[in-house]
């Protein structure tokens, strides 16, 4: 009995210690952003003596942070909207009709999950240049829609197949068109799968750094991760401002996660396991 208790104790200790390791850097990031710069170095571990938001003001006054946030929000919304619409359309086509090329088409998208798109960077760069999309947010949007499609199609076709065909047959008898069926009957039932697709891609697009770095040079078009490069280039000594920048860019994700942590965790792993 005692041995069992000891074992439990050890398990709890390990679990707790790693939780601290996991959370502490983020805790540090948040409390430091509310301290005056000097206090970060004199009292690194304690809560701020007096909470201040001066560093956040600096972000908006001296840097284009409002602009960065606006751009990130714009890119996220447009990307997710396009991705959802076109992936629902093609998944419906793949799951509900039996054209002879459907298997091949599905496979064509499936390979995309294995393709390391970064390795196509050189042709992609020249392509974006020829299309006149350098320094346009559409470069990032289109690339992200493209890379998000395979996973979205995999999840959505899987879900379409679980919905009973009788639903549509009933709708057909009532005289609904294909589009009507899709929008009025199927899409509302698919909310969990749509949520998964939304979450996976929101994390990806909000945090995306690689392609924006290559394609966006114009200060007015930078997204948050690029803004952060800017910030760390300019404010090397004011750590309070740096921490505020990091906190602010992570906040939306953390807040949404607080409300939908289950969907986040299930969403990301279901994408991987399938």
């Amino acid at each position: 009995m005692n041995f069992k208790l000891l074992k439990r104790g050890i398990l709890y200790t390990i679990a707790f210690v790693y939780a601290v390791i996991s959370l502490f850097p983020m805790f540090l990031m948040i409390i430091s952003s509310f301290k005056p710069n000097i206090e970060i170095f004199t009292k690194p571990l304690s809560f701020p003596l007096k909470w201040t938001v001066i560093s956040y003001e600096t972000l908006f006054v001296k840097l284009n942070y409002a602009k960065y946030i606006g751009n990130s929000v714009y890119v996220s919304i447009v990307t997710l909207a396009i991705l959802l619409i076109i992936s629902v359309m093609i998944s419906y086509y793949l799951a509900r009709f039996n054209f002879k090329w459907n298997g091949l088409l599905f496979f064509y998208f499936l390979i995309g999950m294995m393709l390391p798109i970064k390795l196509g960077l050189v042709p992609l760069f020249l392509l974006i240049k020829d299309l006149g999309l350098v320094d346009s947010l559409w470069s990032i949007i289109l690339i992200h829609v493209g890379t998000g499609l395979p996973m979205a199609i995999l999840i959505l076709t899987g879900f379409f197949r679980t919905l009973p065909k009788e639903l549509e047959e009933a709708g057909r008898i009532d005289g609904a068109s294909n589009m009507g069926l899709l929008l009025k009957i199927l899409v509302p039932l698919m909310r969990p799968a749509l949520g998964t697709v939304l979450i996976i891609n929101f994390i990806g697009v909000w945090n995306e750094f690689f392609f924006p770095m290559i394609f966006i040079q114009n200060e007015a078009l930078k997204t948050i991760p690029l803004g952060m490069m800017q910030l760390f280039g300019e404010f090397t000594t004011d750590w309070s401002v740096l921490f505020a920048g990091l906190t602010l860019s992570s906040l939306p994700m953390i807040l949404i996660f607080a409300f939908a942590s289950r969907q986040f965790m299930d969403g990301l792993t279901s994408g991987a396991v399938k």
């Binding site: 679990a15 983020m26 994700m253």
Partner: protein
């Protein structure tokens, strides 16, 4: 007569309208083909041509590959970076996946507070990798970073080193930071694997006297074979595509002295010119991309076919 004509007309019209269904997949096929498939295929072609800046020159066979593997500094850099990618993969397999499995197993044992623990472990995965890089760069700052301040305070001042500035420790530090970022995600993959094992099998094994380490080794791990391979493949791809963290923390030269250089960083530098005064070599960069592609595709396929063989056996 007129009636029959009308009927044919209607049928013709409706079959024409039926073909409209094939417009549905077109936007997805177009965007995916143009922005994902084409660039990767084109990289193969590009690697076989001479490049003058951004313009494609003459077909030059495998010259770019020969340059990559025989000319300085490319050949030294290639093997140097490849070694680092392998090290990255091995450390992640041991540290990241070891810890992730341990944590998943603890949660699987149904201790209290698993909801909180899962959230706590997973949270870093939500940060942008750029945030992760910058945050840890500040934590590890040799003079003002909290780690060394802490080490000084508890009397371990001799361990307060410039972790990221020393070629001996920089790469390990970067890989461990990446592990910190990814552990929660891999923990969930392991947990899903553990939960897929039927409880009857576990009970039977326990009755047969398998407990603790033996239970894990001879019952649990073999039953999780498929999720394990998925983890290995994902870790492998993650290690061989790694770019952002090194770029954010150590720059496009993989400082100090290329000690954190990785294939993807080398690729970026070669194609887009990170070396001082170097304008970038698209041909050699493309050749490098092809080599990386072949490495990633072959090894992933090997892992996967191993699973299929084991499954059908």
């Amino acid at each position: 007569m007129e009636n029959a004509n009308n009927a044919r007309l209607i049928r013709k019209k409706s079959s024409w309208r039926k073909q409209l269904i094939h417009l549905i997949p077109i936007p997805a096929v177009a965007i995916y083909s143009i922005f994902v498939v084409y660039p990767i295929l084109a990289a193969f072609t590009y690697s076989l041509f001479e490049w003058n800046g951004m313009t494609m020159g003459e077909f030059n066979n495998f010259d770019n590959f020969i340059t990559l593997f025989t000319k300085e500094p490319f050949n030294t850099m290639f093997w140097n970076a490849l070694g680092h990618n392998i090290y990255y993969f091995v450390v992640e397999m041991v540290v990241q996946n070891g810890i992730a499995f341990g944590l998943a197993y603890i949660i699987f044992k149904k201790i209290k507070g698993t909801g909180f623990l899962k959230v706590a472990y997973f949270l870093p995965r939500l940060l942008s990798i750029i945030v992760v890089g910058f945050l840890w760069k500040m934590i590890l700052n040799p003079n003002m970073g909290i780690l060394n301040v802490f080490l000084e305070k508890v009397g371990l001042g001799s361990y307060a080193l410039a972790w990221l500035g020393n070629p001996d420790t920089a790469l390990t530090a970067v890989v461990l930071i990446n592990s910190w970022f990814a552990i929660g995600f891999f923990m969930l993959l392991f947990l899903a694997g553990l939960q897929s094992i039927s409880s009857e099998v576990l009970e039977a094994a326990k009755l047969d006297g398998a407990v603790g380490f033996r239970l894990v080794r001879s019952v649990i791990l073999p039953m999780m074979f498929q999720p394990l391979v998925i983890v290995v493949v994902m870790t492998f791809i993650q290690a061989f595509e790694a770019f952002e963290l090194v770029f954010a923390m150590q720059g496009s030269m993989g400082e100090p002295y290329y000690s954190t250089d990785l294939l993807a960083v080398f690729f970026y530098r070669t194609a887009f010119g990170g070396n001082a005064g170097d304008s970038g070599a698209l041909g050699i960069g493309s050749a490098l991309a092809v080599v990386m592609f072949v490495i990633i595709a072959t090894i992933s396929a090997l892992f996967m076919s191993y699973v299929n063989k084991k499954d059908s056996a």
